[in-house]
């Protein structure tokens, strides 16, 4: 087995398996993350996200398959992998009787930095995470949001090229989430490769270049948020409003006769309908026929599917993995 690959992806996972007794937590996962890319890792609890991330962070061993971080095999070259990787687990580990600056200093020392370099890195990280005013505060007195910033700071202390963040926004209030998102965006702009898992899918959609969906230990989708919304369901939902003086029953009757249109629910001056084929010609043809048939349409609006809907749809499509990006996924 070669320790270093010739190609360039920052993270490469090949046919990864991880078994815990009778449970196959990760079942043939393969994907690649390019350098500088921000990838959201999404899946239900127990889907295999954390296990995959821990293997990438060289904290666990695969039962089969291989994984590389910056070209280094995570099993055979753990020290090299760890030197170029920052890991932020789902819960930040706090120490009693230790201040923010001492915490960062400890990890700086443990990485092997000498005084001058260590002071510089600690100062930079505190500035970046906006922890300078809290430098002397005991860690166990920090709020959850501050703690997560400190944890991010710890992961950044050795200025790694790759960051693996497991549920960094879990339990944060909206303000802290926005702050964290902002920090991650800055890191991405700085060229860091980031693999981030979260349950808040809408935030991941905004933050990430692409999304990796994992279900029951298998990758079921790898692509950007828009493609997921398009691909996860073949149907489209539209909100139709007719003129106030018109009788909504006429819209109901028309829809009942139209072959591809299904009423989801009637509203005061209109209806919410589903059009079975989400194709431009079908949609525009339906609207044209409505107008030609004399329906007084005042609004015809596509209801945007959000990532949560798409995710749930995709989980519903059992056994039909969608693969938009990673060619050769198993």
């Amino acid at each position: 087995m070669h320790g270093r690959m010739s190609s360039k992806p920052a993270i490469k996972v090949e046919n990864l398996h991880r078994r815990f007794g009778d449970i196959l937590a990760v079942n043939g996962v393969s994907f690649e993350v390019d350098t500088g890319e921000v990838v959201g890792f999404i899946g239900e609890n127990g889907a295999g996200k954390t296990t995959t991330m821990r293997i990438l962070a060289s904290l666990d061993y695969p039962s089969a398959g291989t994984a590389y971080v910056m070209g280094e095999n995570v099993v055979n070259y753990t020290a090299r992998v760890r030197s170029c990787l920052g890991w932020m687990p789902d819960s930040y580990g706090a120490y009693d009787n230790m201040t923010v600056v001492e915490y960062l200093d400890f990890f700086g020392r443990a990485i092997g930095f000498k005084t001058k370099e260590r002071l510089q890195r600690v100062e930079e990280v505190m500035e970046f995470t906006d922890l300078t005013p809290l430098a002397d505060r005991l860690i166990n007195k920090l709020s959850k949001g501050m703690g997560q910033r400190l944890c991010l700071g710890r992961a950044l202390i050795h200025d790694p090229d790759v960051l693996i963040l497991d549920e960094p926004a879990a339990g944060l209030d909206p303000k802290a989430r926005v702050e964290l998102k902002h920090l991650i965006r800055i890191l991405a702009d700085d060229g860091k490769t980031i693999l981030i898992s979260s349950h808040i899918l809408s935030e991941l959609g905004e933050m990430c270049d692409s999304l990796l969906f994992i279900n029951e230990g298998r990758i079921v989708h790898h692509g950007d948020a828009e493609s997921l919304k398009r691909q996860s369901g073949a149907t489209a939902t539209y909100s139709i409003e007719i003129a106030a003086e018109a009788d909504p029953q006429t819209l109901n009757d028309w829809c009942a006769m139209a072959p591809l249109v299904k009423i989801l629910d009637m509203r005061k001056n209109g209806a919410r309908v589903e059009i079975e084929r989400d194709e431009e010609e079908v949609i525009s043809g339906t609207l044209r026929r409505m107008i030609n048939d004399g329906l007084p349409i005042v609004e015809f609006r596509r209801e945007e599917r959000n990532l949560e809907d798409a995710f749930i749809d995709m989980l519903g499509n059992s056994g039909a993995p969608v693969n938009l990006k990673a060619e050769g996924n198993n």
Binding site: L85, Y95, G112, D136
Partner: protein, 481 residues
Amino acid sequence: MTALASICDFKDWIGPMVVKELRQGLRAKSFIGVFLGLQAMLVIITATMADAGGSNEAISMWFWGFINLVFIVIMPLRGFNTISQEARHKTLELVLMTRLDARRITYGKWFALYAQTLLFSISLLPFVIMRFFLGGVELATEIYVLILFTINSGALTALSVGVSAQPSALLRGAAALGIVFSFFPAQGILVQSFVYNFGSSMTLWASTEFWASFGTILLISAFVTLFMIDFGAGYIAPDAQNISTRKRLLTIGFVFLLLGFCLIPTVESRLMVGLALVFASIPCIDALCERPAAVASLYTPFVRRGFLGRLLGRFFYPGWQSGFFFALLISGAIGVFFYLSFYDPDPELRFLIAIVSFGVLIFPVAIIQYILPKTANPFVLYILIQLVTLAFCFAFLAIDNSSDSSGILPKLSFIPWASLIVSGNDYNYDAGKTPLITGSIATGVLIILLMGKALPIFRQIGQLEKVVADQLAGERKTLDG
């Protein structure tokens, strides 16, 4: 002082874990409270002593009793959760992702705790000197006792730090109780014997007996400290880090040194064999409870040394399969000296006892490997099996003693413990050597059974050795090219 200036308090050469633990430890209420509490108590006791016009037995008992409590109980107990807490808070894996390996973590934790004990020792010196001037005590003896406390506290702190890596809270709790109920009184008796029975300071330093006992205590403390630091490291180290070989080499060195002392005519050889037996038992159990690791890099240092390296690997590779041969080697060496050192007129009896004792050691391993191979914590299970077996044997012994029947326990002589207990209660059973012969045969069967389980593992390791050998040959070719 700015926040950044505050982190320059320790030099770069001091280990990161030591720095972290000292910063936390010196700030902890448990340290500050105990430090101030002890100082206050000693001030009161010294004032009482001044009032009484010198020391007497009761004052000395209180003085050393408090120091005993702090050095042998409180300070070591502070380490009992130190590693398990890191694991629980998930900080351990964050630390393991840095350049700190498992051994540097446990060593750092031990050293920081011990440094705090050393602070206590230094803070006690003025009291010891004051006691001398107030009268009734020997300064040299008192300083010696303080040194003894400090040394033993280091070993017990290592014990607690090592045990703190144990995932089993049951074992950690049992070890803590063990310290409180065994070492605390034992240390008290030891000190009393020195303070009151050893005579004046001049004769104390001059006697060979003193230096021999001090040297033995120092040797045992050093071994316990080093072994327990590695014992703890073994539980948190990733599979790719080999801690087992160090532990076994350390044990071999210690055991052979003690057994080597038996060859000196003036040394009480039975005491040395007894010490070797007691202090080698935990390393042997530890070796017998290790899991084999299928990480090729572990075998590279051995394979690099050719046939001899691979042969040594049969004793020193991580995993119970080589731990079995290691235990056989250690037990064999102790068994030979046991056979030679004890004055029992019947050499056959000594031989059979040595064989069955090895059976006692491996009996739980056979149960684990054949019945419960997937157990999460073989070390704890091993201890439990030994305790349950002993409890059953003593229960049957009690039943046998209270009835007129020929006895249940002799019929269970195929269990090594039962065999030893029956032969040790010859006046009850009058069974002669039969139980020991049965126990020896059972031990032979256990050895064969365990070899049967170990050989397939060695075959797998052989394949890994071949992979490593091919890699090394490839590297050599590249270098030659």
